[in-house]
Each structure stands twice: as C-alpha cells, then as structure tokens.
C-alpha cells in the first residue's frame, strides 16, 4: 500500500530534476544552435535553439585565421600543466616536514603559512610587486609562479600525509631511506587520490583563468590565455574581423552574433567534453576540501 505513495513522490522528484536539467542545458544548447545558424536568420528571427538553415559559416569565419586561437590554446595548455605539477610538488615539499611532529620549526611555520590565509596585501600591492619589482608582466611566468605555493593546499596535503601510518614511515627510516626519498617514494604515491583531486581542481582553475591575463598581459597578445581571448572577443568582435577581412570582403553580412557563439564553442567545447569525465574526482574534492584538519 505504501508503494503507490512512494511512486508519486518519485515522479514529482524526477519532474523537478528534469526541469532543472533543462534549465541547465537549454542555454548552452541555444548558444550551440546559434553558432550553426545563418547570420541573417539571427538578425531576422532572433536566437533560436534549432537553426533555420544549418550552416558552418561562423566556424569557417572563426577558423579563417586561427593563429590567435592556436596561440591561446598553446599558452593555456603549457601554463596549466606546468602550474599544476609545480603546485603539487612545491606544496608537497612543505606539507611533508609540517606533517612530521618532531620538526622544530613546525609551529612557527604553520603560523607563517596560516597568516597568509588571513591577511594579504590586496590588489594594488600585488599588482605593483609583480609589475614593478618582479617584472612578471607580459611573461608566461605570471601564470605559473605566483600560484606555486598556497597555504590552503599545503594544509590539505599535510592532512593527507598525516594519515599515512607512522609505522610505515618509521620502517622506511630504519631501512635507511632519506627524508627526500620518503617524500617522493612513499608520501606522494600514497596520497595520490588527494593529490590527483587537488591537481584537477587547480588545472580547471588555471584553464578557466582570464583574470591573470587581463591584469598582467598588456602588449604580448600571443601570451593571452584562452578565456581572456574569449572575453576580448565578446567586448570587441572586431578582433576577429581584423584577422579575417581577407576571405569575406564580398559577403554582404559578416557573421557577428553567430561567430561569437562559434568562438565560444571553439574555446569552451573541448573542456566541456573532457572535464565531465573527471567528475568523480571533483566531487571527491568537494568533500575533502570542506573537511580539513
């Protein structure tokens, strides 16, 4: 007798969830539809989910001169990968001594890093430091170096190192392993799940970063990140047009609205397809990140 009641609630729940999924996907699919549309249809009928005339003009237009896109992909991939591995390595380096109870600087170093979580110089001092004194602006290093060490991640990794049984470390010590060896051959491999989760989160953050480029890349346009390129195109379609006037001189309508959306999918599409495969690590990271020691 209870079964029927449960079924009704399940139906209601499923309807709610399906509606939520539609709200989530519909806007994205709308953009996809626009990117495959004819520019004139958009101007006449507005954005439509299903294009009236399916065509690839917008993509052809975007790819007519792909140099800026390829540059941005290259730069973003390089700094994301280097930055992520560097971050894991540098933070593990600090997390390991902090996880050892007999390290005499443990408490002072804990405070040293903890303080940076509480108080920082803020935007202007950081900006001046990077540009005036360290001269990181207009170099690829500005994406990589500042993010190498983060107190928050150190504490996360430390917690994970601390959960490695002490007997294991001691037996390694008895076998004559150096501390470096313990870190590289025991701690890091044993903490792989946490490190992988952290690495993926960092990678996602770096891949989607536009702020750094907006602040620090001024003249060297070949160094701007993918998302910043996208942002600049949003504000200024002309960036694409300048590149592309060649092949499209005789066209009456230059793709504007459609090319914008095509550009968005060229930039975001691959990530949108790949990242969900790692969904379970991100989900795990959510739980790990919220409960820390």
């Amino acid at each position: 007798m209870n079964k029927k009641k449960i079924k009704i609630s399940q139906i209601v729940i499923n309807i709610i969830l399906i509606l939520m999924c539609i709200t989530t996907l519909y806007p994205l699919l709308l953009c996809l539809g626009v990117s495959f549309s004819n520019e004139k249809d958009i101007l006449d009928y507005g954005y439509k989910l299903i294009p009236k005339n399916f065509e690839l003009t917008a993509y052809k237009y975007v790819f007519a001169n792909p140099k800026s896109i390829i540059d941005a992909y290259k730069v973003t991939a390089i700094y994301s990968i280097l930055g992520t591995f560097g971050m894991i390595f540098c933070n593990s380096l600090m997390a390991y001594p902090l996880s050892r109870r007999t390290y005499r600087f443990r408490n002072s170093l804990n405070f040293y890093f903890y303080f940076t979580c509480l108080f920082g110089g803020g935007l202007v001092p950081t900006y001046l430091l990077y540009t005036r004194y360290l001269h990181l602006d207009d170099t690829i290093w500005v994406y990589i170096i500042p993010g190498l060490v983060s107190a928050w991640n150190i504490f996360l990794i430390r917690t994970s190192f601390q959960s490695v049984p002490e007997e294991m470390v001691e037996s390694a010590v008895l076998d004559g392993a150096s501390e470096w060896r313990i870190l590289l051959q025991f701690m890091i491999p044993l903490s792989k799940p946490v490190l992988a989760t952290l690495a993926l989160q960092t990678f996602l953050g770096k891949w989607n970063d536009w702020y750094t480029a907006m602040l620090f890349i001024n003249d060297k346009t070949e160094l701007i990140s993918l998302q910043y390129l996208l942002q600049r195109i949003m504000l200024n379609m002309k960036l694409l047009e300048q590149n592309n006037t060649m092949g499209f001189v005789d066209m009456t309508i230059v793709p504007g609205e459609t090319a914008r959306m095509a550009m968005m999918f060229v930039v975001t599409g691959p990530a949108l397809i790949i990242f969900p495969f790692f969904q379970k690590y991100f989900v795990k990271g959510m739980v790990v990140g919220s409960v820390k020691g």
Partner: protein, 314 residues
C-alpha cells in the same frame, strides 16, 4: 620508537639539528621563500594607502598624506553603494545558493534510482566546468535585447522587450540565478555527502511513526543538516567581502549603467586601479577590505573552532 623519544626531550634543552631535520629544512626553503616573496612582500605595499603615491617616486619615496585617501573614499558617493552592494549581493547569494543546494541535496537523497541520480548529477555539474567568461556569453544569448531568447519570447506574447543591459533593477535577480545555475550541482554535494552518512534507521523510525515525506524532511533531514548549515553559513560570512569577480565583471559586461546594483568592492578595486589608474584610492579601499576581512575571517574561524574543532581552518 625514535620519534616518540624525540617528543619527550624537554624544550629547554636545545636539540642539535640532526641529519633528518636538515633535510626537512632543505624542503622548507623553497616554499618559505616563495611565500615570503609573493605574500609577505606585498605587505609594505599597504603603505600606499597612506601616501600620495606617484609612480616615479615609488612606494617609499612618495609623500605621506595620513588618512586623506580614506577620507576621500568615505566621503564619496561610492562608499555607501559599494558596502551596500557587496554585503547585500553576497548575502543574497549565500542564502539563495544555500537553499538551492540543500533542496537539491534532499531531492537527490530521496531519489531511489542510482542510475538516474548519476545522469542528473552529471548534467547539473556541467556548468561548474565552464568559466565566467563563457557564462557571460550564455547570459548574453538569453538577455541580448534584440535577438536574445527572453525578449524573443516576450515578443511572441506581444510584450515589449526589456533592455536588460540598461536596467540595473533586474540584475540582483539575474546574478543570483546565474550563481545558482553555475554552482548548485557542485555545491549540493557536501550536503548530499552528509545526508548519506545519516543512520537510515532514523528515517525508518519516522516512517513507522507515520510521518509523511515532508514531515520526514522537516523533522529528520533538516535537523541532521543543521550543524553543517550553521558552519557553512559562518564560513561564508567570513568571506562576505570577497566577491566572485568573474560573476560581477563578465555577466554585466562591466557596463557602467549597471554599477548602481552590481558594483562591488572587488570590481571597484580593479576599475580604480587599471581603468582609472588611481593607485592610492584603490589601495585605500583595498586596505580597508584587508583589515575588515581579516577581522571577519578571524572571528568566524574562532566561532567555528569553538563549535567544531575539526572543521576550523587551523
């Protein structure tokens, strides 16, 4: 055993630095130096807030002006607007996204089919993977005044379209919605994980006592989550002055017309520094933000530590 012995040695008696400790020190050098350069070296820059900063004079060479920069900001019209927008909008986001996350977590928990759960979860998490720039494009597709989806739909009903990008009043709602749209799939997970940890006999007991589904949620599920909710709330309040820059900057396309309801401290800091180029004003505001933020984080963390050792930052 060696480790335990070390612990017992009284602190007063200076231990000699052994080989193992040297190696730990070697490991510490790089991260400590990095943090010194990239975090501690920004602190002298805070002095700019009290100076008439000029690029040629540098930080130390510029003239002291006391609290003039602060006075200028506090007396300007921007001050009230910024504080109101920052606390108001972030407060709104904290509440709306929390309600949405908890609701979704409960819905997920009540869903019996594991396979369906997986599918729904995958779809709802998707927006987490795209950047605010891309969300800006998506919002643009919906709100574009001439061709956008919403005005299109309004037109079919014969209603005149709204010039969204010239209409400050609608933006708190748009931003809250976008915030939920991007974050709810990921945000609900912490609540969902907590729900999964609840002893299921509690629900059975409630069912035996004849509780309806809604009563079960009201009297069993929510009380079980209350502790987590309070903690999340306190921690969110600790960071209330840190706005999600991308949300405010990309979605509004940094449109001046909308500043009335969308300009927050972080966007103001960026604008005064990079667009207007007023370093001293920007750093005075940044200084205030750092100090107030410090007090808030410290206080909230103190409360959390009292409340629950394990969850506090330190």
């Amino acid at each position: 055993m060696k480790l335990k012995k070390d612990d017992i040695i009284p602190v007063k008696k200076r231990r000699r630095i052994g080989g193992r400790e040297w190696q730990w020190i070697q490991m510490s050098i790089l991260p400590v130096l990095h943090t010194f350069i990239f975090c501690y070296c920004t602190l002298p820059g805070l002095l700019i807030a009290f100076k008439d900063y000029r690029y040629i004079d540098g930080i130390l060479g510029s003239k002291w002006v006391g609290f003039d920069n602060f006075k200028f900001f506090v007396l300007s019209n921007d001050c009230l607007r910024l504080v109101r927008n920052t606390i108001g909008l972030n407060g709104l986001f904290i509440i709306t996204s929390m309600i949405a996350q908890i609701a979704l977590a409960i819905i997920f928990y009540e869903l019996t089919s594991r396979k369906a759960l997986k599918a729904y979860q995958t779809i709802l998490i998707t927006p987490h993977f795209i950047s605010w720039v891309t969300v800006g494009y998506v919002v643009y597709a919906l709100l574009q005044p001439q061709y956008g989806l919403i005005n299109n739909m309004l037109a079919t009903f014969g209603i005149e379209g709204i010039q969204f990008y010239n209409e400050p009043a609608v933006w708190p709602a748009i931003l809250s919605f976008a915030n939920i749209w991007k974050g709810v799939g990921m945000g609900c997970i912490i609540y969902y994980a907590t729900l999964m940890g609840i002893d299921s006999t509690l629900f059975e007991a409630a069912r035996v006592d004849g509780a309806t589904k809604l009563q079960e949620i009201r009297y069993v599920t929510l009380p079980m989550l209350s502790r987590l909710i309070v903690l999340q709330l306190i921690m969110a309040i600790g960071g209330i002055f840190n706005s999600d820059f991308g949300l405010f900057y990309q979605l509004t396309r940094d449109s001046g017309v909308l500043y009335e309801t969308t300009d927050v401290i972080d966007t103001y800091l960026y604008r005064t520094m990079r667009v207007i180029g007023d370093m001293k004003l920007s750093s005075a505001v940044g200084f205030l933000k750092s100090v107030v933020g410090f007090i808030l984080v410290y206080l909230t963390n103190f409360i959390v530590r009292k409340y629950d050792e394990e969850l506090s930052l330190f």
